[in-house]
């Protein structure tokens, strides 16, 4: 979503505040911190779902998110999506995604995200899913992905829309 949609997205996020503020959660591994991993609820029969989070690297060396696993999915893939002349394109990313030194990698709607492939059951609003992420330098860490309503644009904390 663009800046023009921000006020309304923020409004949408506000309505979610009550449920999501309690779900705001961080994880640390090495020089990385992973903020607010979240996903959207899925329908019965829906085999795929996206996951989003912000990964901050306090270290002075670049790291890479290489892969993920989760008991709820046959596979966790890294994907990107882009809009190109009104056409939505999604692609699997191979070779991992860089987490820049003294910077951050945002997995968010409209860009990079993790993709649960072959979901073994629907993801239900309010639950948390364990996902183990593997980084090139920092190693592995298991985070709990918060499942939000299907219309969610991001997670909100401290008055900021998590877009």
């Amino acid at each position: 979503m663009t800046i023009r949609n921000l006020p309304l997205s923020a409004l949408g996020a506000l309505t979610l505040f009550a449920t999501t503020a309690a779900l705001a959660h961080d994880y640390k591994v090495g020089s990385l911190s992973i903020e607010h991993p979240w996903s959207r609820e899925t329908a019965v029969g829906q085999k795929v779902g996206g996951g989003f989070m912000t990964i901050t690297n306090k270290g002075s060396r670049e790291d890479r998110l290489l892969s993920g696993t989760s008991p709820v999915a046959a596979e966790v893939q890294l994907h990107t999506m882009s809009m190109d002349g009104g056409i939505m394109r999604m692609r699997q990313v191979e070779g991992g995604i860089a987490v820049p030194a003294k910077g951050k990698l945002e997995l968010k709607p409209g860009g990079y995200h993790i993709m649960f492939m072959g979901l073994k059951r629907p993801l239900k609003q309010g639950e948390r899913l364990p996902v183990t992420l593997r980084f090139q330098r920092a190693g592995s860490v298991t985070v709990q992905v918060a499942v939000q309503p299907v219309g969610s644009a991001g997670l909100m904390e401290g008055g900021h829309a998590g877009l």
Partner: protein, 209 residues
């Protein structure tokens, strides 16, 4: 040499004038033809559907029933093409239509919301029913055979293409705009994913007016 060149120059110039007049004349005729074509009502049955936006289609609803352009006639609709594996644009667009409908209050039900899956390989009609039910407002989730989808995509100017992925599966590139159609099945406008809700609401108000 000048005696020879001058007359040729003059007749060349007059030939050029004629050529320009011919070009202008042809352009005017083409312009008139386009205006005439545009002036015709798009869904006029007498003109046939051949050149109209939208046009006939046949798809399947989650309960297995057949939905055609005739099923939809009589109520405006907002139609969007995607697939349930779509990571972001599809849920965001459908959630947005749900939100806009709520903002219209009682008028919100004066148009139908239709989601067409262009991924019959993964999305069965019943799956689509479960998917659209997540949004908490009536949305028609439709799909069809590859041939049926090719027909409606052509009618609605929608691009979609399968893109093989490394694991042997595939994803789908597709047009992300929401198309608004009148109760008579004529094109009314589009809602782009980058447009503000204010603009989108105005378009919907015009659609149901």
């Amino acid at each position: 040499m000048p005696d020879f060149e001058q007359p040729t120059g003059r007749s060349g110039l007059s030939r050029l004038r004629w050529a320009i007049w011919i070009v202008v004349g042809v352009a005017a005729l083409v312009g008139l033809a386009i205006l005439y074509d545009r002036a015709r009502p798009l869904s006029d049955p007498a003109s046939g559907y051949a050149n109209a936006f939208g046009g006939p289609f046949t798809l399947t609803a989650p309960d297995g029933s057949t939905v055609t352009e005739k099923t939809l006639a009589g109520k405006p609709y907002a139609i969007f093409f995607g697939f349930t594996r779509c990571p972001d644009v599809c849920p965001t667009s459908l959630a947005r239509m749900t939100r806009l409908r709520k903002q219209l209050g009682a008028d919100g039900m004066k148009f139908n919301i239709i989601f067409v899956s262009v991924d019959p390989g993964h999305d069965k009609p019943a799956d689509l029913g479960n998917y659209v039910a997540l949004f908490g407002t009536p949305i028609m989730g439709l799909t069809g055979t590859e041939a049926q989808l090719a027909q409606i995509k052509k009618g609605y100017g929608v691009y979609s293409a399968k893109v093989p992925q490394p694991g042997g599966d595939y994803t789908i590139d597709h047009t992300a705009a929401i198309t608004l159609m009148t109760a008579k099945g004529a094109f009314s406008g589009t809602i782009d994913h980058q447009e503000s809700d204010t603009v989108a609401l105005e378009k919907l108000k015009r659609l149901i007016a």
